[in-house]
Amino acid sequence: MAHTLHADGTSGKVYIYNNASAPSIYAVPTSAQLGDLNFHSALSYLGNSVVVEATVTHPVRTRSSYETKGLFSSTTHYDPVQGTSTYNLGNNSLGANAPFVPFYGTAQVPSGTVIHQVGESVRAVSIYVTATKVKIYESWATFDQSLPAITRTYKVYLFNTLFTGSGNTSLAITGNSFTAGFGKLSSSYRYLRDSASPDFYVTDGKTADVSGGGLKVVLPDGTVQYNSANYTGTFAGITGRGVEI
């Protein structure tokens, strides 16, 4: 087995594949050939990765309570209170359509996850993107307990979609740069790459299940991140593939 780098002088196509077959058979790859290709200028990639990391202090959320007094005693009553807030995590230079992988603390947990709970009072968050910003959305609800202020660190990997080639450079190698496939493969970018020491995991499966009113979360790395006491299902999750950038 050999790896082959081929640049077509006519079409400008550049591809790298993991065998010694004639380059022509990969000029227009079939679905069955996709697994052979390390790179092909006709394919789409996620690159130019950007990492945004920020620490947010979520403020105290005070419960609402009042007392009624009888002749011999008093009773405390609680009113449910709900609210939302948003916080900036950083700038988004890749636009609103950039796919991304969010980390809540050190865990690659699902969007909408409850990150803070005291009794029946909860605080849940989702990271979202706008055309220019990476933000976090907090939804909180208090009842019998107040939620004290907490500080959490969030990390987001955003990816540029390199779907369309630009310029007319098929392959260029200089002392300072390498570009191929009309800009799709560039030494200026950072790409997802298979890794034994991954930054995060990608998966094609579910990462959470509900049953018996409870929730179980199995992260893409196979870790059981949350399993509520009343969860009654058998969800085991699947371990995804570790990648780095």
Binding site: D36, D204, V210
Partner: protein, 290 residues
């Protein structure tokens, strides 16, 4: 920057020496981008109200009654009375007595034993018992009605196909974005709208996303809803899954207490657990070099 092709390996590094591309650590590409909008209604779980009537003998300070009780009361009492006391006693006095010797009346002190009666005031301690009425204001019994609501346990799953990839592609992963709108928000009668941290902006929907949650006193979740994006053969699917266990909410109890009257009516608010979502999905289908 460096480019090397050596020993069956091609590597590109950037200006700082960090690896950008290496055939030994394959770089995935995107085979498809699938966009789809999917609406879903999480159905009502169903609920029923409780109405419990009660009689309470316990202290109800707002429901006092004046009550008398016939009570046997005993006490030591000093009892005094006028008493006619009779008895023999010497009765003495001066009187003229004829003296046959002298033939004269002699003024003489004379005593004689006589049966005598007289009214006398006599006192003595006695233990006296009587039946008396003891009356006071007391906390009276009450009747009332408590009502609450029970949400019926329910499991629900709906799966939709968002799109398909070319047969034989065998993708390795999905990176998904979604923009969701909850046009109708489910709620529980005592706590209000189910907690949801899904904004109307674009969020990551890789794997599963927690759409809604609800919690019991003490913190256990009793309702959870997720949407999961996953690959099933050549199909990219979205699974909406709901689960709730039975939830009894007494905190919206409607209690009425009346003094000894008829049981009052009471009703509790119901829970409208159905939520309606519409989600725009954008799924990037990825594949690694084998």
């Amino acid at each position: 920057m460096s480019f090397s092709a050596s020993s069956n390996n091609i590597t590109v590094t950037d200006s700082s020496g960090a690896v950008v591309f290496n055939t030994d650590t394959p770089m995935p590409h995107i085979t498809n981008v699938i966009t789809a909008t999917q609406a879903h209604t999480f159905p009502e779980s169903g609920d029923s109200s409780h109405v419990v009537s009660y009689f309470s003998q316990s202290a109800d300070a707002t429901c006092q009654v004046y009550e008398c009780t016939l009570t046997h009361v005993c006490n030591w009492v000093n009892v005094c009375n006028w008493v006619n006391v009779c008895g023999y006693q010497d009765v003495c006095g001066y009187e003229y007595v004829y003296d046959w010797g002298s033939g004269q009346y002699v003024y003489t002190y004379v005593c004689s034993n006589q049966y005598v009666c007289a009214d006398t005031y006599v006192c003595a301690d006695e233990y006296v018992c009587n039946w008396v009425n003891v009356c006071d204001w007391i906390n009276g019994p009450s009747v009332g009605t408590i009502s609450g609501n029970t949400v019926t346990a329910k499991e629900h799953t709906s799966t939709y196909t968002l799109g398909t990839v070319t047969a034989g592609t065998s993708p390795d992963f999905l990176l998904a974005l979604m923009t969701a709108t909850r046009s109708t928000a489910g709620s529980q009668h005592d706590m209000g709208t189910f907690t949801s941290a899904i904004p109307t902006n674009k969020i990551a929907a890789n794997g599963s996303t927690v759409l809604e949650s609800a919690f019991e006193p003490g913190g256990s979740s009793w309702l959870s809803r997720v949407v999961s994006i996953y690959l099933d053969g050549d199909s990219v699917k979205a699974e909406f899954k709901h689960s709730n266990r039975q939830y009894i909410g007494w905190s919206s109890v409607n209690t009425v207490s009346v003094c000894g009257g008829t049981y009052p009516t009471a009703s509790a608010a119901v829970s409208n657990t159905s939520s309606i979502w519409s989600i725009d999905f954008e799924v990037y289908v990825g594949k690694f070099t084998l």
